[in-house]
């Protein structure tokens, strides 16, 4: 069992009204923003299940957009996320899908885009108490919580890539807490997700990039 801190009990400090429908939604979107890594000009959300049914009364839409704008779960600007997105030049759209059945009732899809045509698709689940899981990146099913420093490597599924990644981490003295490989199918697009309980320095990315089978890198810093 993970250590339960007093601040898991008396906490989180959060914008209400609901840890799962508000705080968890912020956390999903904030992780998506960090994964995208640059300026976001357009975002499209799709809400499923309980998110689709009760988003208005829980402010789930503002929470998701707030996370995209870089607000954390205790940021009072979340309430004004629509106005602030307009000011910051972020276009946003919400689709409400009550038909599709997802694995978890509180599920949101986020499609991020910038002016250069760079796109990233992320699916997240809000699993209760403000905690969340990212369960899909583009077409690949993944699973991580965003509670650790997380390195996500998009790669071609070929031998030697994982060894290269672990060697780079080891040379930088990074201790791996969890590491998993996810792929669409054999030999196609794959993601390696590395979670560490110490900060992963950004300059490590340039070393990992050297491998020709590494296509893209994302870093969720704590």
């Amino acid at each position: 069992m993970n250590f339960l801190s007093i601040f898991d009990v008396i906490g989180p400090n959060m914008i209400g009204p609901s840890s799962s429908h508000t705080a968890g939604a912020v956390a999903i979107a904030l992780s998506a923003r960090k994964m995208f890594g640059g300026e976001i000009t357009r975002v499209t959300f799709t809400l499923y299940g309980s998110f689709a049914k009760t988003y208005k009364g829980h402010g789930t839409d503002k929470a998701l957009l707030g996370g995209i704008l870089g607000f954390s779960t205790d940021d009072e600007r979340i309430r004004d996320a629509f106005e602030l997105a307009n000011e910051m030049g972020v276009e946003y759209k919400f689709h409400i899908d009550e038909e599709t059945v997802t694995n978890h009732p509180n599920t949101a899809d986020i499609l991020l885009e910038n002016e250069n045509g760079h796109k990233l698709f992320v699916r997240g689940e809000s699993i209760g108490g403000g905690k969340m899981k990212i369960v899909r990146i583009n077409n690949v099913n993944v699973e991580f919580t965003g509670e650790y420093s997380t390195l996500i490597v998009q790669q071609i599924d070929k031998p030697g890539v994982v060894a290269h990644i672990t060697q780079c981490l080891s040379l930088h003295n990074i201790n791996i807490a969890f590491m998993r490989l996810f792929r669409e199918s054999k030999g196609t697009a794959a993601f390696t997700v590395v979670e560490s309980d110490q900060p992963i320095p950004r300059d490590i990315l340039q070393y990992i990039k050297i491998n020709p089978n590494v296509q893209d890198l994302m870093l969720i810093e704590m």
């Binding site: 801190s5 007093i6 009990v9 008396i10 209400g16 402010g59």
Partner: protein, 291 residues
């Protein structure tokens, strides 16, 4: 220093001659990732948010997103100052402060989940009222928060604090137990009396269902927080007077969990039963969700 149930906690308090708050802080430092200074700094933040959220809507009431609540805290606070108030200063203040936190929460304001957003009014409501009535310093309140955190941790670990899993008894019931135990330590009670107060609190709300109208954290959540406050104050008073609950805290936590597990699905945060399932509750739900 760690503990996994109430008995081990009491044994530690007695062998180390420490109050529950001190054992909880020691546990956080030795078992967790924070330093003593970091724990203190986080407690300051928590208390500041609690102070703000329990007072703001009394000065400036606003409407909730769902529109079911807004302005109740001010009403109760104003009424408490009149000669026809029946609650007395401590209870009246604690009720209005707890209801204020729920108003802040329901209007997308900043609160501390304690242990959840739906029950976030009870601990600050009781502590803020006690601070005013007894002239307490913030330093004493930090100890109260640590004590409440110990009880909440045990319930989270060994039972549940989720309405979806175990009903409102697990949310407002747990929050009452946390607040009651904190009050007992603050007022000089023993660790045994703290856990007796927590046991009393849980048993008083045993079986309480989670039935939010329209699925929103508004009604009956807000008035349940006022009841949670009354329950905490009652339980603390009983324990301080030397009334012992026959059922030890650990057994009571397990009983609460079992009762919660045996609650039907409709009465666990699904907005299908209880208040939410009444004709009026359903109609309000349809109006809010626009169907």
């Amino acid at each position: 220093m760690d503990f996994y149930n109430g008995q081990v906690l009491l044994d530690l308090c007695n062998s180390e001659n420490m109050p529950i708050s001190a054992v909880m802080k020691e546990r956080e430092i030795t078992e967790g990732t924070l330093t003593s200074e970091e724990v203190d700094a986080k407690l300051v933040t928590v208390l500041n948010i609690m102070k703000d959220s329990s007072h703001k809507p009394i000065e400036k009431p606003g409407k909730s997103i769902g529109g079911l609540i807004g302005g109740e805290a001010k009403k109760v606070n104003d009424f408490g100052k009149t000669s026809v108030s029946v609650a007395g200063d401590m209870l009246s203040k604690a009720m209005s402060y707890s209801m204020a936190v729920l108003e802040v929460n329901a209007s997308m304001g900043l609160i501390v989940a304690a242990p959840t957003a739906g029950s976030s009014g009870v601990v600050p409501g009781v502590l803020m009222a006690l601070k005013e009535e007894k002239g307490l310093s913030d330093e004493i309140l930090y100890k109260g928060l640590l004590n409440a955190g110990a009880v909440g941790y045990l319930l989270m670990r060994n039972a549940s604090v989720s309405g979806a899993e175990a009903g409102c008894q697990a949310e407002v019931g747990a929050a009452s137990a946390m607040a009651a135990s904190a009050v007992v330590e603050i007022m000089g009670g023993t660790p045994e009396q703290c856990l007796a107060a927590a046991s009393l609190s849980i048993s008083n709300l045993l079986g309480l269902v989670c039935d939010p109208i329209a699925g929103l954290v508004e009604s009956p959540c807000q008035s349940r927080n006022a009841v949670g406050v009354a329950n905490a104050i009652t339980s603390a008073e009983l324990a301080l007077a030397g009334v012992i609950h026959p059922i030890p805290f650990d057994e009571m936590a397990e009983a609460m969990y079992r009762v919660g597990k045996s609650l039907p699905f409709e009465l666990r945060e699904t907005a299908m039963g209880g208040c939410a399932g009444t004709p009026t509750g359903c109609a309000l739900g349809c109006n809010i969700c626009g169907k």
